[in-house]
């Protein structure tokens, strides 16, 4: 069964992609399960136009967006997390991170959701621009432009937190 093989190959990546967004292991587990349930249901619809991993991530992306739309509509529509709406779990509660990883992750979290998406897909999950565009339902040009802006904003956030090349390897 290809779906089971795909689970073995990509469940870890899908889970990490979702957990980085929802910051809750239980929710990440549920959404990963929901994603692969859909993969099992729709496996006959997979036409092979894109790589299976891209197709699965497209499902994971829409599943996570639907979760935000239902549970956190303001965050979804404003494209930003609102710290006033409740306490967010810390990065230590989300995953075991080194100090440096935690600072990178927190800087990433402070970006707009759409900027987080392109950085997570292009640089953390390692998709090509074409595949990232397919997952986000966008164009390659838009992804390239968005990624450039996202990286600039990310660097700026890191520097606000005192992170630079000088501090990178000393920590």
């Amino acid at each position: 069964m290809p779906a089971e093989q795909w689970f073995n190959d990509y469940a870890g990546a899908v889970y990490s992609y979702i957990l980085m967004q929802v910051r809750n292991r239980h929710t990440a587990e549920e959404l990963t399960q929901e994603t692969f349930m859909k993969v099992v249901e729709k496996v006959h619809q997979f036409e092979g136009k894109a790589a299976a991993k891209t197709w699965i991530f497209r499902i994971a992306y829409t599943t996570t967006m639907n979760h935000y739309r239902k549970k956190h509509p303001l965050t979804h529509y404003l494209d930003r997390e609102l710290p006033l709406l409740g306490t967010q779990p810390s990065s230590e509660e989300t995953a075991i991170l080194s100090e440096q990883e935690a600072e990178f992750y927190e800087a990433l979290r402070r970006l707009r959701k759409s900027h987080q998406q392109v950085i997570m897909l292009r640089h953390i999950q390692g998709f090509s621009t074409k595949d990232t565009a397919a997952i986000l339902g966008s164009s390659e040009g838009k992804v390239k432009m968005s990624l450039k802006r996202a990286l600039d904003a990310f660097k700026s956030e890191l520097e606000k937190g005192g992170m630079s090349r000088d501090t990178l390897h000393r920590r």
Binding site: A11, Y15, E29, Q33, E34, M37, Q100, E159, R165
Partner: protein, 206 residues
């Protein structure tokens, strides 16, 4: 402060994925939930008032339409929520119990036909020796005139229907000499017609 290059950022970001990956036990649990149990956990669905209201209104309109249609054939004036009880009237004998100057109805309902008999034969003027022949003829003519004005005329009426709305029963006889006659139930086996004539029936009806 020296800025990060894109390559440095890329390397750091690539390394960020690993700590977020699931523990082997978590992965096994997910695998079990998807491929062994196969059924997603049942979710409580909240009731959304808009679709519920639309469904309710749709249901009401369907029920109303069906009721109106059910009450329609042969009895257009029976209208809203009139129930067709024709079947329960098969075998009923309805006999007039009040005096009337021209009518003495005896009505029998069989499965398909209503038979109306008028047993009043004009006894008030027949055989009266104290009046002249001319007076008898005049009285007979008046009798016929009044009789002709009665809603129900003696005869056989096939395909009759009886429709009930609360305690009102409308008997409808279709056809050229057809009529519609409404009775009100006053007791389990007692009725009074729209013209005030009282009847009793031999059995209980719906």
């Amino acid at each position: 402060m020296t800025h990060f290059t894109d390559d440095e950022l890329t390397r750091q970001l690539e390394a960020l994925r690993k700590p977020f990956e699931p523990a082997p036990a978590e992965k096994r649990a997910m695998h079990h939930a998807i491929f062994v149990r196969k059924q997603p956990a049942a979710k409580r669905r909240s009731i959304h008032w808009k679709p519920a209201l639309i469904s309710f209104l749709l249901l009401i309109s369907i029920v109303t339409t069906l009721t109106v249609l059910a009450g329609k054939p042969g009895a257009p004036n029976a209208g809203w929520f009139a129930k067709d009880v024709t079947g329960s009237w098969a075998g009923i004998i309805m006999e007039q119990t009040s005096d009337h100057e021209v009518a003495g109805y005896y009505i029998y309902f069989d499965e398909s036909t209503m038979h109306v008999e008028n047993t009043n034969v004009g006894a008030s003027f027949m055989g009266n020796v104290n009046i002249t022949q001319a007076e008898v003829e005049k009285m007979a003519e008046d009798y016929q005139t009044k009789l002709a004005k009665m809603t129900m005329q003696a005869g056989d009426y096939p395909n009759y229907t009886v429709k009930k709305k609360k305690d009102q029963y409308t008997i409808t006889a279709p056809g050229e000499n057809g009529f519609s006659y409404t009775l009100t139930k006053t007791a389990p086996r007692q009725f009074v017609g729209e013209d005030g004539i009282r009847y009793s029936v031999n059995n209980y009806t719906d």
